[in-house]
């Protein structure tokens, strides 16, 4: 790929070891994908933050990398960590795990990366992302940014997003190019979708069917809400490696691509495959992190009542602050629930915290908890989950 004089200087180490390694990584990726050059990115969002996911190898790398003078040069944000960075003791996170997690946070802080610790950075970044090139790693946020917000990002990994944070650049290929952002599969929905869970199931079904293609989804009766889109994005990025989708309300006459039809029966099959029938003591909501509207709904349902089961609501520290002002946090915690931030049920050491199964509305969580933790999930809509916690 073409490199500017300055980029070449970075590559031979003239600006230090950290920037050399970051450039070497991005150039290797760029060459592999036939990128013509580097492009400037406005922000980077880095995955691989929880000690549970990156473990000792990740921590070792971050320690070494941050000690060589690595420092972010653009707005750099983090995915959720392995625990609420303030209230971890209260939630039963083991001491040893917590110390490792805090060490990871110190590495990121030394690199001037902001401890946003959320998988929905778009809820704070807002609509200003249209047309912006970014380097984001959280797979659900990548799909959301490309498809809903009109931003441009590839599905970055932890290391490449970190390299982009350091250099403020990303190789120009894939989803950064307009001609690549075009549907290659048609998905026709032949049933009504009632809740964010239905959207999650639809996404999970689509991801399993189209792999890494870009689907164009049609046949929806109504335009989905942001929260429903959030669920759709998350699950299609888990069962497949979809970078973006298109959506058309109503029928789609377009032909010329492989067409897939999905009806209620397919969604029910997906539900049965992912969900356990058993009863569980923990209700976990917030994968991806809960938005304010969802926190408001939870607060309304539990208001003045008492949760009979554990009710854990995961969101970002930023949104929790707003939810606190609005009174949602107070209402939920008075009812015995917890509004936890910086983390979620997927990346926290949930088994060590005494959880052996959860009730949730997240297909993504159900998928990962089963494969990575051997923890089963019972799937229900957000509202049903909250009522389950009260019963």
């Amino acid at each position: 790929m073409f490199l500017t004089k300055k980029e070449e200087q970075i590559l031979v180490g003239e600006e230090g070891e950290a920037r050399r390694l970051a450039m070497k990584l991005l150039v290797a990726i760029g060459d592999a994908y036939e990128a013509k050059r580097m492009i400037k990115v406005h922000s980077a969002q880095i995955s691989g933050v929880s000690y549970k996911t990156i473990g000792e190898p990740g921590l070792e790398f971050l320690k070494e990398f941050s000690s060589t003078g690595a420092s972010a040069t653009v707005r750099a944000m983090l995915n959720p960590a392995g625990m609420d960075l303030n209230r971890w003791r209260e939630l039963g996170v083991p001491e040893e795990f917590a110390q490792k997690q805090l060490e990871i946070m110190r590495c990121f802080r030394n690199m001037k990366i902001q401890p946003t610790c959320t998988c929905i950075p778009y809820f704070t970044e807002g609509a200003s992302l249209r047309g912006q090139h970014v380097a984001w790693a959280e797979s659900s946020a990548v799909v959301f940014a490309n498809s809903v917000l009109g931003a441009y990002t590839n599905r970055e990994g932890g290391p490449t997003a970190l390299a982009s944070a350091i250099l403020g650049k990303s190789p120009l290929y894939g989803m950064h190019l307009n001609d690549q952002r075009t549907p290659t599969r048609l998905v026709k929905v032949r049933c009504e979708l009632g809740s964010e869970l239905d959207y999650g199931l639809l996404g999970y079904w689509i991801g399993g069917g189209v792999g890494s293609h870009i689907p164009r989804i049609s046949g929806l009766q109504e335009a989905p809400s942001y929260d429903e889109l959030k669920a759709l994005c998350a699950s299609m990025a888990v069962s497949g490696s979809i970078p973006m989708f298109f959506m058309k309300k109503g029928a789609d006459r377009r032909e010329g691509h492989e067409v897939m039809h999905v009806d209620r029966e397919e969604l029910l099959k997906t539900h049965r495959a992912l969900s356990s029938e058993r009863e569980f003591e923990h209700v976990c909501l917030g994968c991806p992190h809960l938005g304010l509207k969802e926190l408001r709904l939870i607060a309304r349902v539990v208001s003045g009542r008492k949760a009979m089961k554990k009710l854990w609501c995961f969101t970002s520290r930023h949104l929790r602050g707003i939810a606190e002002q609005q009174g949602y946090v107070g209402t939920i915690e008075q009812a015995g629930g917890k509004v936890v931030c910086d983390t979620c049920m997927v990346v926290s050491p949930i088994r060590e915290m005494g959880v052996n199964g959860i009730v949730t509305n997240s297909c993504k969580a159900a998928h990962y908890l089963r494969s990575l933790n051997r923890v089963e999930s019972r799937l229900a809509s957000l509202e049903e989950c909250v009522r389950y916690a009260l019963a």
Binding site: I29, F61, G157, G158, P159
Partner: protein, 151 residues
């Protein structure tokens, strides 16, 4: 027994030279949750390489899969001295590229012949990441065969 030395040309993705015995998998590989860094042993349940060590070997497989944390696991292999000496993919992807850059492992892909079919575990493979070429000496007893040829 004469051994045949076969050259394949492809694309050098991460530079460097590595030579060793091949370990070949027809299945995609996830390093996160799939390889134990301290031992370099594949631990993914049901994987065709489960229980085998990739340490010091030329690792041949179609492509990476799974979490991008896999790059850190490959870096971890370097820390523990259990890396493969080189990696050969059919078509590589960012997790493997990232790991090979961080851990200094030569990486080659897009060869003119299918490496997963042409190379068998135990073959001797030399990988030249700078030019994207590999040389394969067939036969599990390749060291002996090479010495015999020199004599």
């Amino acid at each position: 027994m004469l051994s045949r030395r076969l050259k394949m040309n492809g694309r050098g993705v991460v530079d460097g030279f590595g030579a060793g015995e091949a370990v070949v998998s027809r299945q995609a590989m996830s390093f996160f949750g799939g390889v134990e860094p301290r031992s370099g042993i594949v631990i993914e349940t049901g994987h065709e390489l489960e229980g085998q060590s990739i340490s010091g070997k030329v690792l041949v497989f179609p492509r990476g899969k799974g979490s991008t944390v896999g790059s850190y696991v490959i870096y971890g292999l370097r820390k523990y001295g259990t890396t493969p000496v080189a990696i050969v993919n059919i078509e590589t992807e960012p997790i493997i590229i990232g790991g090979c850059v961080l851990a200094n492992i030569p990486l080659v892909d897009r060869l003119d012949k299918n490496p997963v079919e042409m190379i068998q575990s135990g073959d001797w493979v030399e990988v030249q990441g700078n030019i994207g070429s590999i040389w394969v000496t067939k036969g599990a007893a390749s060291d002996t065969a090479l010495r015999a040829m020199k004599r």
